[in-house]
């Protein structure tokens, strides 16, 4: 299922590759994007800890944009 999703995304990207891409959001239009409330990593230390709690309580791991080390946490 995950590989099917990735294949679909690769197909979409390959279609886009047929035409030249120009930045459609200009640098001077990125004021809202640059606001602190739009950051994925606003709180690195606190997010890292919560990922650690999820990893210890759930079987799933990865896919969350975070890197992690090993521990015998279960």
């Amino acid at each position: 299922m995950i590989f099917r999703c990735l294949l679909l995304l690769a197909l979409l990207f390959s279609i886009a590759a047929c035409s030249p891409i120009k930045p459609w959001v200009k640098p001077y239009e990125r004021q809202k994007i640059a606001d602190e409330i739009m950051s994925f990593e606003r709180n690195p230390i606190a997010d890292s800890y919560l990922h650690h709690v999820f990893d210890a309580r759930e079987a799933a791991r990865g896919g969350d944009g975070a890197s992690g080390g090993g521990c015998g946490c279960n």
């Binding site: 990125r30 690195p44 230390i45 079987a59 990865g62 896919g63 015998g72 279960n74």
Partner: protein, 402 residues
């Protein structure tokens, strides 16, 4: 008179041009911070206290993160983290005694900026009395299309040594590998998205040992004794585990100054576990000094192929597990958080400082993990009530930018 008017008009025009230039400059500076590949991360110090309380386990401790730039193209970071564990969880109460232990983790990392690429290196060491782990990471990010797109690839390699407190000769060696791919995209003026794919493999180095390095050496499974009750035997896991996870994250800037964040992830592994989770987060600034966050997360997973709450007889399968984290369950997490921005100048030496308090409430309902602590005279084997767990997680931290 005309000459005087012309002078005033010219002066006004110069002021307007200067204001526009300054606005454009500030927008460009802000925009350059959007994607990590184009700039180094902020120089900051974070001091965190974390606390977990639920299911008979209490885990708390400090964590400190320091990030500093060396020149214009190198950033280094160091992290120190401690877990102080005091556990009388359901597993412990059923087959062992309550215990206390401490886990310490140290990490260093560096980032090197070259044009629109960032190269990252990292090392993390985690140590507890029966588990040592070392992790080495390498990653590279590159931004494209006027910084609208950032692609990243990462690899990490880990070496763990698993021990056992009651048997000093017990030693299992584990190798972990993780391959990551990330793509971040500015989709519109108000929408950011990020896609992450991680493939992880765990491999025991000695395949001849009966008890796998992936086992928890203290945990047992239940099996029917044949006389109406049940007995325990040690868990037995495979020597390898491979997993893939695909996650999508997006943040949308609402028509007023607030953001909505969506996260979705799909996971599957070679043990037969499949899981999905979705999270929605709302972040709302209040006046100049406050940020308020509300979030809700739903998670569900299927069980491992070799999981059972109660096996029909001893050695019923080649692999045996009764770890509730490998059982089918669903959970919800509700979270509230508040950030207070300390007014500039109140704390000297720092450009900006914040105080943050976050609380998360976990509610986990296990579909096939029963509470074996009840009296066998009240409940027949396999008829015990299903277990559920509530946990509170507190994060209190101070952040300082310099």
């Amino acid at each position: 008179m005309r000459a005087k008017l012309r002078v005033v008009e010219t002066a006004h025009r110069e002021v307007v041009v200067a204001v526009i230039n300054r606005l454009l400059l500030s927008v460009l500076v802000l925009a350059s911070n959007v994607l990590q590949a184009a700039v180094l991360p902020d120089e900051r110090i974070d001091v965190l206290y974390h606390g977990y309380d639920g299911g008979g386990a209490e885990i708390n401790g400090p964590s400190i993160l320091v990030r500093k730039n060396l020149g214009a193209s190198v950033s280094v970071a160091a992290n120190y983290y401690v877990d102080m564990v005091s556990s009388a969880s359901i597993d412990v109460q059923a087959t062992a005694s309550p215990y206390s232990e401490e886990r310490k983790e140290n990490g260093i990392s560096g980032q090197y900026l070259v044009d629109r690429s960032t190269i990252s290196l990292g090392y993390t060491r985690s140590k507890e009395n029966d588990y040592d782990a070392s992790t080495y990471t390498f990653g590279i990010d590159q931004s494209f299309f006027g910084d609208l797109t950032t692609l990243g690839f990462g690899v990490s390699f880990g070496e763990d040594v698993v021990g056992q407190n009651t048997d000093p000769t017990y030693e299992r060696n584990l190798e972990r590998r993780k391959y990551s791919f990330n793509a971040s995209q500015i989709l519109t003026k108000n929408l950011l998205a990020s896609l992450s794919f991680d493939s992880v493999s765990d491999q025991c180095l000695d395949l001849t040992q009966d008890e796998s390095c992936l086992n928890n050496p203290y945990r047992s499974v239940r099996y029917l004794s044949g006389t109406g009750g049940y007995l325990y035997q040690s868990e037995l896991y495979p020597h390898t585990r491979n997993s893939d996870a695909l996650g999508l994250r997006a943040i949308y800037y609402l028509p007023y100054r607030a953001s909505l964040r969506l996260e979705a992830r799909q996971f599957s592994d070679s043990w037969g576990i499949e899981s999905d989770n979705v999270e929605l987060r709302y972040l709302h600034p209040y006046r100049e000094q406050w940020l308020i966050e509300v979030k809700y997360r739903i998670y569900e997973q299927t069980g491992a192929d070799f999981y059972s709450d109660l096996f029909p007889y001893r050695d019923a399968q080649n692999f045996l597990a009764r770890d509730k984290e490998l059982s089918p369950f669903s959970s919800t997490t509700f979270g509230l958080g508040v950030t207070y921005k300390v007014p500039a100048g109140v704390i000297p030496w720092f450009e900006k400082s914040t105080a943050n308090l976050y609380w998360d409430r976990f509610d986990i309902d296990y579909d096939n993990f029963r509470d074996a602590r009840v009296s066998p005279t009240d409940y027949a084997a396999g008829e015990e009530p299903l277990y559920n767990l509530q946990a509170d997680v507190i994060r209190f931290y101070l952040s300082f930018w310099f």
